[in-house]
């Protein structure tokens, strides 16, 4: 509802960010929140569309117009209830989601004009935490059914919370030392500080979810046994097999998958003791291959470590600066040029680059060789465009191929053509085994993960209670 004509009166306000020049000096979150009055302006701008495309743009189906309006009216207490109706962890999405809702906002028909939905979202949940409105909501009645959830990423957590609230006894198995999955170990603190994750984990625990950290199902615990001990099992292990770069020199030292680097950085920031041979960007020429969010996070970390230079290269060509209406018309997610937060902090980027070789000395990478390509599949290289760049750390952030297969094998779960767990309605081929999140749909956004967890929980509950 908002305020009539407010969308003409006020413009879009992006979230405030700390100065890129100074924020690279620390690991604290760099995105702030708008002051209340500006948030309310954004709430006011929301037009109570007859067809709120934002809501269809949002994988969770967040009731965006409803809570935009509540924020406009300074009724955060009700807003958090509406927000929690569809989203278990708004503080994750409010920080990490690329906000397809905003791309689909009706005001975005005038590009760049969308309501700052994500800001509103995160402000609601932040306020709710501050006010102490978010409390454990343990179920009134226990069903006595048990569920094992493997993986404590956002999908696993959402699934666990929903199932627990339905009265089932839920145990979450996590191979890492703490919960949260990639939100905890993949995403840098400067995007989401880890106490934010911890706080939510505490809520789940207080509601009655059991967490077993450091237990790698399939290794520490036999998968079949686990299945036998529980009425249902949910696989929410993510899509963690990274895409590799098959070029000469790949085997050289200093060439790492992005996630190895990010895990280490996150652990370091959390104060864990450094591993024996840490991956460090300090003082190095860093090349990040892959133009996505993971790549950006590598860039951001490299800056903070004090890299000599950071260059991010991308296989595909440079997208147009504005929404290409022929390819991705509104309200679709626009394939257009975006500059990541990390590149605002420094570094170079280049598009349509095919890496041809890595070379080095003493088994350690020193250069990267590339050519320009056509920018479109099959990315044929252009003649006479070969270049060589110094590279002491090469991070491969080219996406993920699918879930790790061993556990799925052990559970007897069939796979689809892309090696994901084949579970069109969340139930897999193995009786009582369900799959959710990236393990089912392949790599995707945190918002999809939460949605998967919720949907899967619904199916599990239906299956358990008939």
């Amino acid at each position: 509802m908002g305020e009539l004509r407010a969308f003409l009166k006020y413009g879009r306000e992006d979230a405030p960010e700390r100065d890129p020049r100074t924020r690279v000096g620390d690991y604290r979150e760099f995105v702030g929140t708008l002051p209340l009055v500006e948030l309310q302006h954004q709430g006011a701008r929301c037009m109570e569309c007859g067809v709120p495309f934002c809501q269809s743009g949002c994988p969770l189906g967040n009731l965006i117009p409803d809570w935009n309006d509540l924020v406009y009216r300074d009724r955060f207490r009700e807003a958090i209830d509406q927000l929690h109706r569809t989203n278990n962890f708004p503080e994750f999405t409010g920080r990490l989601c690329p906000a397809p809702c905003e791309a689909a906002c009706v005001l975005e028909i005038e590009e760049g004009n969308a309501v700052s939905i994500k800001q509103v979202e995160v402000s609601i949940v932040n306020r709710a935490w501050e006010e102490g409105w978010i409390e454990p909501r343990p179920p009134a009645v226990r069903t006595g059914k048990t569920v094992a959830v493997i993986g404590s990423g956002p999908a696993g957590l959402a699934c666990a919370q929903q199932l627990n609230r339905a009265g089932h006894d839920v145990t979450v198995f996590e191979r890492d030392e703490a919960g949260g999955g990639l939100v905890r170990f993949g995403v840098p603190d400067f995007k989401i500080e880890k106490w934010v994750v911890e706080r939510r984990l505490d809520q789940l625990a207080d509601e009655g979810v059991t967490f077993r950290y450091g237990v790698d199902v399939g290794i520490d615990v036999d998968a079949a046994e686990l299945r036998a001990q529980h009425d249902a099992v949910v696989v929410a292990t993510g899509a963690r097999v990274p895409r590799d770069l098959p070029v000469p020199g790949r085997e050289l030292g200093g060439v790492h998958f992005a996630m190895e680097y990010l895990y280490e950085r996150n652990r370091a920031v959390a104060g864990a003791p450094a591993p024996e041979r840490p991956i460090s960007a300090a003082g190095k020429h860093v090349i990040v291959i892959g133009g996505g969010d993971t790549g950006a996070d590598c860039v951001g970390n490299a800056h903070r470590e004090g890299a000599a230079s950071v260059t991010q290269i991308e296989l595909v060509g440079e997208p147009p600066p504005h929404r290409p209406d022929d390819l991705t018309p509104w309200p679709q997610w626009p394939m257009k040029l975006r500059t990541s937060y990390a590149l605002k902090e420094g570094g170079e980027r280049d598009f349509a680059i095919s890496t041809t070789e890595l070379s080095g000395q003493n088994g350690h990478v020193e250069q990267i060789h590339w050519s320009q390509n056509t920018g479109v599949p099959p990315f044929e290289t252009l003649p006479d465009t070969e270049e060589t760049h110094p590279a002491q750390l090469v991070l491969l952030a080219m996406g993920f191929l699918g879930p790790e297969q061993e556990l799925l094998d052990q559970l007897g779960v069939a796979r689809d053509a892309r090696s994901n767990a084949d579970a069109p309605a969340f139930a897999t081929s193995a009786e009582g085994v369900f799959a959710a999140g990236d393990a089912r749909r392949g790599q995707s956004l945190v918002v999809w993960a939460i949605n998967e967890g919720r949907q899967c929980a619904l199916e599990v509950d239906r299956w358990l209670t008939g």
């Binding site: 009539l4 004509r5 003409l8 007859g50 809501q55 009724r75 009706v106 209406d325 309200p331």
Partner: protein
Amino acid sequence: MPIGLYDPAFEHDACGITLIARLDGIPTHETVRRGLTAVANLEHRGAAGADARTGDGAGILLQMPDRFVRSFVEGLPPAGQYGVGVCFLPQDEARRAELERLLAETVEAEGQTVLAWRDVPVDDRHVGIDAGQVAPRIRHLVIGASPELAADPDAFERKLYVIRRVAELAAGPDLVLPSFSSRTLVYKGMLTAPQLPGYYPDLRDERVETAMALVHSRYSTNTFPSWELAHPYRMICHNGEINTLRGNVNWMRARESQLASDLFGDDLAKVLPVIRPGGSDTGNFDNVLELLALAGRTLPHAIMMMIPEAYQGRDDLPDYLKGFYAYHQCLMEAWDGPAAIAFMDGRVAGATLDRNGLRPGRWLETKDGWVVLASETGVLDIPPENVLRKGRLQPGKLFVVDLDRGRIVEDEEIKREVATRKPYAEWYEQEVVRSSDLPEREPAERPSESLRNRQLAFGYSQEDMKVILAPLARQAEEAVGSMGNDSPLAVLSDRKPLLYSYFKQLFAQVTNPPVDSIREAVVMSVQASVGSERNLLDETPEHARQLVIDNPILLDSELERLRQVDSEVFQSRTLDITWPVAEGPAGLEPAIERLCREAEAALADGINILILSDRAVGPERVHIPSALAVAAVHHHLVREGTRLQAGLILETGEARSVHSVAVLVGYGAAAVNPYLMLETLAELVDRGDLPEGMTREEAQKRAVKGIAKALLKTMSKMGISTIPSYCGAQIFEAIGLAPELVERHFTGTSSRVGGIGIETIAEETLARHARAYPGDPEGLLVVGLFAWRRGGEHHQWNPETIALLQHAVREGGWETYEQYAQTVNDDSARKRTIRGLLQFRFAGDGGIPLEEVEPAKEIVKRFVTGAMSLGSLSREAHETLAIAMNRIGGRSNTGEGGEDPARYVRDANGDSRRSSIKQVASGRFGVNIEYLTNADELQIKMAQGAKPGEGGQLPGHKVDGYIANVRLTTPGVGLISPPPHHDIYSIEDLKQLIYDLRCANPEARISVKLVAEVGVGTVAAGVAKANADHVLISGHDGGTGASPLSSILFAGIPWEIGLAETQQTLVLNDLRSRIWVQTDGQLKTGRDVVIAALLGADEMGFATAPLIATGCIMMRACHLNTCPVGVATQDPELRARFKGQPEHVVNFFFYVAEEARQIMARLGIARFEDLVGRVDLLEADQAMEHWRSRGIDLSNVLYRPEVTNGAPRRRTEAQTSPLPGALDWELIERSKAAIEDGTPVAGSVEVRNVNRAVGGLLSHELTKKYGRTGLPDGTIRFDLHGSAGQSFGAWLAPGIELTLYGDTNDYTGKGLSGGTIAVRPPEAATFAAEENVIIGNTVLYGAISGHAFFRGLAGERFAVRNSGANAVVEGVGDHGCEYMTGGRVVVLGPTGRNFAAGMSGGIAYVLDPDGSFPARCNPELVELEELEESDVEAIRTLVERHLELTASPVAARVLDEWESCLPQFAKVMPRDYKRALAAMDNGGYAAGDDHPISSGGEGFLTTESEGARAAV
């Protein structure tokens, strides 16, 4: 018996009526002759069917022609001691003999004697073929009175009635007894009026003599043969429609068990039921009137009971009369509707008019003692010098000719006589109890179930709170939405809506007008009453023992007063309407049975207030849906005959919207206490959802007020004015309920596609209940009914379909369109539309190659875009649609808002922005002769899908300079579209408007837009017979305009049903061949188009889809002027955002046509026209499990009527033009010089009432040549002599001046476009013109400019919706200057009530010497002011001109006594107009710089009409 979707019960009729009498009371044959002449002159009001010689009916009611009867019966006893029964008998000899035997035996059994049988001679040469085939054998039965009755003529008359009823009941429908009396005799048949004397030679026999006669010419909406339905009936003939009939019939049935009469004694039981089944509304009315009169009331008394005038809140009526009406309302609810009823019992004759004056009636008394009353003036040639006086029937007034007294008895006199016969007023005051006078009571302690749980149990949603309730309390009126309804029918919804949602509100279209409940509030009332009714045939003080409630929505405290009423007269009992959850769905039926038994028992105990309560809902108990509870009890008690012993009150947590209350009242509740809604409102206050400072009580009162107001609007849609008339009237059609359920509990309601039964209702109620207990942590449901929500109610227009369509017409091309079409079509099937449940029967041989199918460029010519006005759409969007449609040879529609003449000229690139279809809607904005002349099609909008039966309003601040220009009004002045066309209150009026429009543009085809509802097929048949070329059947779900939410959702039905009914009815009547049929309503794809064609449409209309192609994203904020894509806004900043291009629309239509071609190929049909009406190519999709499980049965929709003579199923021929013979051809001929080069011409012609729309064709010719500017004033001058027909001077163009010496009828000066009209009495007349009526009702309707001068009195609604004409008149009836927006009106005489209602512009000057005018002026929008200099000037100029053109003595006197007269003028000045004029003086508009009042983030906006200002 219904055939397919057609049901004869939906037939309507309207007519021309005449009453003629000699005041000396001497029977003469001359009376017959004059009566027949008069009705023949009303022939244009009647109609004929496919066989032009078969009339809809004509007849005459006479006094018993004693001399004549004596001629064929020997030994006839003296007059009064014998009776004649007119018998329509079957042609079948055996059956006839049987019936005659039955009649004879009955006569004997009742102690009377059969004196003779006579074959009534008839002449078959004077009857149409169709009518002749079904003509009855007509015989007279002459009955002699027994010796004891011979002395008591009244008793004999009663006995004849008893004999008739007994025989009728024994015989069944094939015995028809048109009259059976010792006093009157009827001749009637399925004839045209001129055929009447030819068919019945008796009527030419000089011995057939009478002193009074009623004569009638009928116009029925269809032509199914019926001789019985011709008028007159035994006591009345009728022009109009009784809207409340279903309720009246039910209540009458309920009353029967209480009837007792000393006069009838034991005979009374023999005549029951009083109402003969299968009769028309007139027949039913006649049945009841006859009973009342025979049981001892005088005819005027009975008429005053049945059609009371609007008496509530009147200061101008004497107390005894108000008391009379109030008393009689306790005996019987009003029979409400637009009705002119002429009645006669052989001694007294007369006529009356409904409370709102919606039918015409003009009378004349001659110096030689004749009285003629007719639908029109001029039906008889009476020399002017013989005219004593002239008048008209007035709203609610009685006109009585009493032969005993030998004179006309004035309304006041006759009513005083009747109303003071007994001390009715005292009885009433002494006995009636007003609920507000009852002592306050504390409610009993209640278990405190949590509010949230109960809300869940009753299915409350977040939307109920936010969209329905909060705005209701905030604005004290119902919220408004836009863009129609694209969600599924209740029966097809996954959401399992409340039972109310299955009932669709009916609304008036064509056959009767809706009422404007706001501007004509003087006729509306929400007062209700409860208590026991008593014997209708008796009158005692105790009859008035009723408990009067001010408003049918009760606060808790008000209910407690009734519950704990403590008196010997009133006793209440509360019945529980819940059942144990533990019993499951099977518990519902027994619970209803138990409830009905308890109700019965309560009545037996003398209880007269029954409160049905679901307060007991809790963890263990679930409620019977309240509509089911009330309807079940109501019908059970009606069947038991005890219904009238008690009033029903609902105490329910379920009701929470206007529609829910309407359903409950419509099925018999006298009042509703929506306690949970009230509690919820309190919650909203506590939560801060309502404006600060509003208390709980205030919020509740405002909501009640808002619902009451909207309830009035819901009633008024059907033309019903009072709660007692609406109560139990069942003005609904059920869609999706099983026939057995409806038959049992909602008896008499139409339900034509089957649906869910009681079991499913129980399951769904339990499912809701299950969410409440133990409780749902998520809280209230998110339903997504008014705005799409993920996982909520399905909407056909959703993010996916909108995005696909927009992409398809821009970049995506055919492939994307295919995706779109597949999504929509699949969705339509899965997600629930009627068409989604159908599938094609493709050709077994694979069909024909695609190349053989008619090309898309031909098919697109059948497509039109919807009627969306400039004003609702931006100029950019409106012109884009027009250009696109002109490019493809389709048609775009102006909508109700005129058109910029700049668009009549082609653009440089060859594009045309001119809309082919020019709409003519009730507001007539921009409808001048130039607009009409520049049309290919003229569309009369009877209703619109989003809000059928309602008007509209464009607030002044939205009327900027451009829009005002186009609409030919004043910038800044608000524009109101009245609910009805004030020139269409019935079908024969529509015929007249069609005629008028043909005159204004003979080349254009004339279309009538209807909205689907039960009975639309018969209306369409009437439209075909009214000479229209084209009829549009609009679905309920389309509609882009702003409209109250309940109307968007609950008025009208899907086009599939309406179209199928129309096709079936037209084919059955053999009328389909002469009319095009178009349909619209959420059409989206080629599949939709083909289905529409197969169901009977030649053409298809689209509104939302092409708008979406241009960029509309279904914001549903059209009413807020904030459309962010520039489609539906006038804001220049937003208009600049419009990105639509004509090619987007062109692409859409070509894709749709291409998809249709592919289907045609598979059907094996090459030409589109061969699809039309091929319903055999459709079948119900048996694979659709979900709908079969819900009991849907589409066989009625798929019914294909068998026709014997190969009647066409599509349009094959043109209508016969009514224009040859028009007087205008002569005027055109004589104006040639002027038309050619502007040479002035003048002339004089004779004119008669059959010459209608005089000046129309001439104006068209002139406009074709000279455009809107026409010729200089007075270039063409004609003097006319005589009585002119209706619509005299319609759309008269500038340069034409018509002076009529005589008088004229309704609609004079309609749409006056710059010409000048003067009407004055003939030179020879001796009566005082200023005291006599000279023009009819609804004069200068929608006049744009020009001048009019009337020396004499006008009828109701003078200068209604006048936009700019200047006029002088010497007195007007009720509702003068209603909805006026411009121009000057000078009234030099008396006015009726409600002057200036809805008047937003222009100025009226009323000469008011006695200072009584202010009391008759409606101050809502206007103020009374002192004259200023410019006013004095304006009045003087107009009055001088009046004198010049009409030689008016009144004008002369005013000018003579100028100085003393001036202070007597009241200046009526609209506030809007004053503001606008002031703004213009300051060089700007009042409009454009401000915006609609903001809801300030407080929910859906409602129009800033009265409610926003009103305090509680």
